[in-house]
Amino acid sequence: MAFQSPSFRGSRSTSGGSLTTKLFEVNWLLMTLVGLVGLVGVAMIFAATDGVWQRGAFQHLTRIAFGGVVMLGVAMIDIRLWYRLAYPIYVLGVILLVGVEFVGVEVNGSARWLDFGVARLQPSEIMKPAIVLALARYYHDLPDWKVSDVWGLMGALILLVVPMALIFRQPDLGTTLLLAATGVAIVFLAGISWRVISLASVFAAVSISLFFKFGLKAYQQERILTFLDPSRDPAGASYHITQSKIALGSGGVHGKGFMKGTQRQGEYVPENRTDFIFTVIGEEFGLIGGLMTLGLYMSVITVCIWLSLQCKEMFSKLMILGLTTTFTLYIFINLGMVMGLAPVVGVPLPLISYGGTVILAVMGGFGLILSAHLHRGVELPRTT
């Protein structure tokens, strides 16, 4: 039984219906929520660029729209194809990362981009869904008894460490950590035993401290140390954090009003169109705007988890939860950084920050989630 033929279960679950049927069965709630977040992004980029439509807001809107189409397109594709493509996509991602290593375009001291002439591509963004696909398939295929076994763990680690190492070399600490956390979450969800978890935690604690000492560039160390003790360098590295907190705090409960943020107007918060866009929300819409944004994100995540619970296949569940984890970690790291709870690592706020590849990757990820949900009735083979 190499490939099981699709079977139909339940009256509503379908996978082989016509395209129109499928379109109706897509979870439109998630589509809407994702679109809403994207529109928040359009509004905030509009504000961050002093109301100049052409300086990002328009592009963002186009990208969201295009992303929505991609999302739907990905959703339409049969989950079995994604299952089959899991490893090829992963390999492609690794190849692109290796490409960055040799012909990457350097921006702000780190080479993260591949220039294809018409567009620049950030392979590390592709790697985020790719690693989820690969690990989901890996654990889908892995027999239960091997999950906590050394060899089973090894396979997962290799899948994880290769792209992590490549991304770390760019260097991009934020994405590396994000990948690691996503991987750990999938391994956890796959059912690894608590014994292994506790052992790994001890090992991780030791290796992280060694890694900090020897594996980080000076500016990366500085960022983390500054985060831990902001008084180290009030005018230098912690300038971002300080100005960001001032923007948020001065917004108060109600905010200063759309387009009225003075921190923003004064250009005190750098990168407020991209990584620090939440400062614009917090400054102009205050606590209310901030909490509404958090609420919007939480609803997206809740819907995703709910969708995962409806899936039967391990691959689908792990993929949905893995992608959701990535998405959630994006939010945590970004907001933690903006609010001064985490070091400045350069992670965008998904769907709101300006930046093309991220939107495509994130919305493509949501497409995968929708596909998994849409094809929840389809049975997947197991390859061991």
Binding site: M1, A2, Q4, P143, D144, A185, F188, L189, A190, G191, A235, G236, Y239, Q243, K245, I246, A247, L248, G249, S250, G251, G252, V253, T262, Q263, Q265, G266, E267, Y268, P270, G282, G286, L287, G290, L291, L294, Y297, M298, I301, I305, S308, L309, M314, K317, L318, L321, T325, T328, F332, L335, G336, M339, G340, L341, P381, R382, T383, T384
Partner: protein, 630 residues
């Protein structure tokens, strides 16, 4: 490839359980984020709002325009001009060195300038603008303005600079302005002084009239962006800077310049010395000049080491204000003092002659008259006219140093005048007590003899000599010199000498310049008065010895000043006033190493006095009438 059965139900539950755990963790983190938002935006909102305002608003201090300094006719001697400069606001400049490099590409910065900028940045709060470069020409300034977007924290401004247009002849009087030093800030808490671009008077009138000239600062609330660029100005609260007030001097720029020209020589550059012209009635100084001069503008734009060395190594010491700080032996000009003291003491009958045989013997020491062969019989008037040393050696022994010193003081010697230019000295009017205090030895008669011809311990400045001449000419009041118009005029003390005695002295001074045989008469110009019809001057020559005269020199008679090196030549001194019969101006002149007083100093005084009278309308009235008749 094989397929295994579906994962067991326990696995399904397991993944659901773990999903719930992760979900719970996620909710927890969201909770933390929400709590943090609450903390920032509600609990600490006020603090951050204040910080945001801080960010947003700067109170820019508006610097007042410095008052101008003008001469008595309103001609500006120190004025303001546009000064194109760059300042840096360090808190808005992330990379100071890189930014300075970029500035230097357009307008070079020396290591010294860079060091100063770094020091200023270290020593000031980060929001205080630091001067990067000033006094830039327009081309460089506009080139830099084009690059400002590349230069975070750099602000270009057209500020006020100080200019001294009158060619250096007022440098000693005006002084110059500069950055406030730590000591200035200690005694003056005006926040303006902490502004690195602000300048205060460091010396001269600029320093003494600082309070008048400075004005007071204004405040402007501006909204700035992260790069320090002003987004908008807020009209309120705005206080204008109050400009400083102008200071008017009693000096006459034309006369001052005329006087400076008189110090020029054919082959040795400007002579070194000082001259003061004083109004005999009001005490107003029409000229106060120290030669040679220096260009005070150099001090404003920042002196180079070469300029500095040149000034410091010049033997004529251009920076030194000889008019009030140069102490010279008054030499024979002191003889009026001795004369007046003798008359006032009534111990000497001016008609009693003294025989001058060329020297007088006191103990085992000879005191020589300048005329080796002697003057023969001299009464008091002849003694002054011929400047006979022997006569004064003789009478001073009777009059005594204390009486001489008393008259010297009453005539204005030995006093440091507060005229608004710092750095004056009091000179020395020696007495027995002075010598005891100062040197710890007793007064000897020889000291009196030396003092009687203005040598030995006696030291005076050109200003004091001018005051002395003015008081003798005034006869009624102890005229005090005044330099700044508008300062409260005090009534002068009465001079309190017998008018007949003063008249006698004045007559003798007239004889010096206007009678056959007078020491100043022998030189041709005085035969023709001072260049003005019917106006005569009175005066007295002085030749200040710089060195002892050796016996061999005395024997051979080789004392020709022109044969000596400059440094060893006598100082040429002259005091005088004019017109003789209705005194208007008095002058004290010293030309360092200028030889006999009857030559250099007398010539300068004559010319300057003539010019002073001409500029005052005396003597020209007649000429004008003649012109009108034509």
């Amino acid at each position: 490839m094989s397929s295994t059965p579906q994962k067991s139900q326990s696995d399904k539950n397991k993944i659901t359980r773990r999903t719930a755990m992760l979900g719970a963790g996620g909710v927890g983190v969201f909770g933390v984020l929400a709590a943090r938002l609450y903390q920032l935006q509600v609990l600490q909102a006020e603090d951050y709002r204040a910080l945001s305002e801080n960010n947003r608003f700067n109170f820019n201090m508006l610097l007042p325009e410095r008052g101008e300094i003008r001469d008595r006719f309103g001609l500006p001697l120190a004025k303001n001009r546009q000064n194109f400069r760059l300042v840096m606001i360090p808190e808005r400049t992330p990379e100071v060195e890189k930014t300075l490099d970029r500035v230097a590409q357009i307008s070079p910065l020396s290591d010294r300038q860079r060091e100063r900028i770094r020091r200023d940045i270290r020593q000031n709060p980060k929001f205080v603008p630091i001067l990067v470069k000033d006094n830039m020409d327009w081309t460089t300034f506009s080139a830099l303005n084009m690059r400002l977007h590349d230069l975070p924290g750099i602000v270009s401004e057209a500020g006020q600079g100080r200019a001294y247009p009158e060619n250096g002849v007022f440098s000693h009087v005006l002084g110059y302005i500069g950055r406030a030093g730590d000591k200035d800030i200690e005694v003056d808490d005006d926040p303006l002084l902490r502004q690195p671009t602000f300048r205060i008077g460091k010396t001269g009138v600029e320093a003494s009239q600082e309070k008048t000239l400075r004005g007071s600062s204004g405040k402007l609330k501006v909204e700035v962006n992260a790069r320090g660029r002003i987004v908008r100005e807020w009209p309120d609260p705005k206080t204008r800077a109050e400009s400083g007030k102008d200071v008017w001097l009693t000096l006459d720029a034309g006369l001052q310049e005329f006087a400076a020209k008189q110090f020029a020589t054919e082959d040795e550059g400007d002579d070194s010395g000082g001259i003061c012209v004083i109004d005999v009635i009001t005490g107003e100084l029409r000229t106060m000049l120290s030669m040679p001069t220096f260009d005070a503008n150099l001090f404003v734009s920042g002196l180079t080491q070469t300029d500095m060395d040149k000034l410091n190594n010049d033997p004529k010491r251009p920076q030194y204000n000889k008019a009030i700080a140069g102490g010279y032996p008054p030499a024979s000009t002191f003889k009026m003092v001795v004369m007046l003291a003798a008359l006032e003491s009534r111990l000497i009958d001016p008609a009693d002659p003294v025989f001058c045989g060329g020297k007088i013997r006191l103990g085992n020491r000879n005191f020589h008259c300048w005329k080796r062969q002697g003057h023969g019989k001299m009464d008091m008037r002849d003694a002054l006219k011929n400047s006979c040393d022997t006569y004064f050696y003789d009478i001073s022994q009777v009059v005594g140093i204390e009486a001489i010193a008393d008259v010297a003081r009453r005539l204005g010697l030995g006093e440091k005048y507060q005229i608004g230019v710092g750095g004056g000295i009091s000179g020395i009017v020696p007495t027995a007590k002075w010598k005891q205090d100062r040197l710890g030895t007793g007064w000897r008669m020889g000291d009196t003899l030396n003092a009687s011809i203005g040598q030995g311990f006696v030291l005076s400045t050109p200003l004091q000599l001018a005051v002395m001449a003015a008081r003798i000419a005034n006869a009624q009041e102890a005229v005090m010199p005044q330099l700044i118009i508008g300062e409260e005029m005090q009534n002068f003390d009465a001079l309190d000498f017998d008018p007949r005695h003063l008249a006698y002295v004045r007559d003798a001074m007239w004889a010096v310049t206007s009678e056959q045989g007078g020491t100043a008469y022998r030189h041709r110009p005085f035969a023709e008065g001072i260049g003005l019809d019917t106006i005569q001057m009175a005066g007295k020559t002085g030749t200040g010895q710089v060195r002892g005269i050796s016996t061999s020199e005395r024997a051979t008679g080789i004392r020709k000043n022109s044969k000596l090196p400059w440094k060893l030549r006598d100082h040429s001194i002259f005091v005088g006033y004019a017109p003789f019969d209705r005194p208007r101006f008095a002058v004290g002149t010293i030309v360092e190493h200028g030889g006999a007083g009857s030559k250099r100093a007398a010539n300068i005084t004559r010319a300057v006095l003539g010019e002073a009278l001409r500029r005052d309308g005396i003597g020209s009235t007649g000429a004008n009438e003649q012109g009108a008749l034509k």
